[in-house]
Symmetry: C2
Subunit: 88 residues, 2 copies
């Protein structure tokens, strides 16, 4: 399946969240990741994130799509990765 | 169509970008919006954003889906809007 993951975590946890997400998905913009992933790998990603998150403060939203067939992606301005490796 | 919009703009432009996006879509998390929108309204939104963006620095990604049929959304941690009105 194709997923888009966005997180909004407290500053002190951003580096850890970024490191975890980059193991499974592609970083596309500040706190935004996307990519194809299996159910099993998504479960692992979620478990790792839960392990570092403060679930009373932080927020992670995962948009899951069974198919990329009806999907189109448009960028205004620059494609971030070309600009900096990543923003912590 | 259903869209997810994420922006990464310079601090001084965040308030303007937020104001524009909230006219057309629902704020769901720091710099993340979603919602149903027509092609015409999406064009208006993009034109307004282009009017305030520095396209050599800022980045806006718009994920467009013809249908929400294959779409599932999962949240870990809190749903931000319940926590604060919005974060600038």
């Amino acid at each position: 399946m194709f997923v888009i993951l966005v997180y909004d975590v407290k500053e002190e946890r951003v580096a850890k969240a970024l490191k975890i997400c980059r193991k499974y998905l592609t970083w596309v913009q500040n706190s935004v990741f996307e990519g194809e992933i299996t159910e099993a790998k998504l479960r692992m990603l979620k478990d790792e994130l839960k392990g570092i998150m403060d679930e009373t403060y932080d927020s992670v939203i995962i948009y899951k799509f069974r198919t990329k067939q009806y999907y189109e992606r448009e960028t205004l301005g620059i494609e971030k990765p070309s600009h900096e490796d990543f923003i912590v």
